[in-house]
Symmetry: C2
Subunit: 258 residues, 2 copies
């Protein structure tokens, strides 16, 4: 796995290629529709820029790091002389490779990447799947060179993991956005709420979240729920969302509904 | 503010009394319906246990740290010779004191406390309100002895802050619970998802959450949304919640709905 080529030059390609370079691997080439991004990333990791059909036949591994809906199309463009290839998506099944290559698999870092933000990649769990056991072990060992945690997981389980990640990232982020919006709407500095959110998540190191639920819905405090809904009178969609989420908490903890 | 008495012996009383003791204050007494809790806490902070009507008339400050719905009743029981008194609730207006005391106010630590878990109280923002400016300044200075951040905030703004805290703590915790449940239902180690949740919150130090939204609803990826709803077929309530939250994201970012 000495020579690695990337297809894609976005957030995932950026963080993975830099981490693999630091771990002693050679990044041979970057291929991307976005030539300017590809050039920038290639300079950072001492790679060349090339088209997909020009990827070296001596490369040990091709890593596809493009958006989910582009993976299938890109696989059609990749020369079949490529021996080992993975994609990095949580949501796309390994079947997408359609047995076109000798060794194919999934190398999924369970994290939300942003180029602007430094990330401790050693803390990112990698979920690995491959069409053969030997390649699977190679991929897992590769992941363990840049991260403390790598596990084998099949496409079916990965689907559920990806669904859970929507709650854990996308939905939590929406809750943060709504909290910020409520505060900013009243000219209250939204940063006040950050230590509370940080503690809410960090304590999950010691506790299961089901044992940490608090608040008016948990304690069936209809008076406070009503007051909160009144505060949201001018935003009927958010008011309805407040009610739906509170109802889910009430069902879980009180067996009742609003 | 040298001698401070607490009414209540729960999580807030526990953390506040310990922090104030460490900051050089004397905790004179603990009053609580739960005598066993009161005794345990009193021993920890070198205080005596006494009934509410026995609180020393020389005490400089009484801090009410009981559940929201008990505050009003407890205020009736407190001798009117008490000179300075605060409650610690985000949701209860300062009007609850009904002008019974010379100096009254609110000393609200914006955090979710648990006795079992160590907490860096210096990072907890305190929101202060009082019936007079001098007392307000005294309370703010008291808060600044145990925390880096204390601000004056009136009851009306605090109501909105408390509503935002429901999103930031209660609702985020529910999202974490649902993520854990999805994983545990498939025998996947739920701790896999923790680094993602931590990063989701920690990056808000640098970014506004509205700029960090990602996922299928954000990019209007109807195919993935449909697949996720199918995975939730056996849990119609959670399926409906998934849909409601996704719709809120779609409205915000795409102006569309499912």
């Amino acid at each position: 796995m000495n020579n690695i080529s990337f297809i894609g030059s976005g957030n995932v390609a950026f963080h993975l290629s830099k981490a693999l370079l630091s771990a002693g691997h050679t990044i041979t080439s970057i291929s991307s529709r976005n030539k300017s991004n590809a050039k920038k990333l290639a300079e950072k990791v001492n790679a060349k820029v090339c088209d997909i059909n020009e990827i070296d036949d001596t490369v040990n591994l091709v890593i596809i790091a493009v958006s989910d809906d582009a993976i299938s199309e890109i696989i059609h463009e990749i020369p079949s002389y490529i021996n080992c290839i993975v994609h990095t998506s949580g949501a796309v099944s390994m079947d997408v490779f359609n047995n076109k290559f000798e060794n194919f698999g999934v190398f999924y870092p369970l994290q939300s990447f942003s180029k602007d933000r430094k990330l401790a990649i050693s803390l990112v769990p990698f979920l690995i799947e491959a069409n053969g056991e030997a390649f699977e072990v190679e991929l897992k060992n590769l992941a363990l060179k840049i991260s403390q945690r790598a596990e084998i997981m099949d496409s079916e389980s990965r689907k559920h993991l990806h669904l859970a990640a929507v709650f854990a990232n996308n939905f939590i982020n929406l809750m943060a956005t709504e909290a910020y919006n409520i505060l900013e709407g009243k000219n209250i500095d939204a940063s006040l709420i950050r230590p509370l959110m940080i503690e809410t998540i960090l304590r999950l190191e010691d506790y299961h979240p089901k044992d940490m639920q608090t608040g008016p819905a948990k304690r069936n405090d209809l008076e406070v729920l009503k007051k909160h809904e009144e505060l949201l009178n001018s935003n009927s969609k958010l008011q309805s969302l407040y009610r739906q989420i509170s109802q889910q908490i009430m069902r879980k903890y009180n067996g009742s509904e609003l």
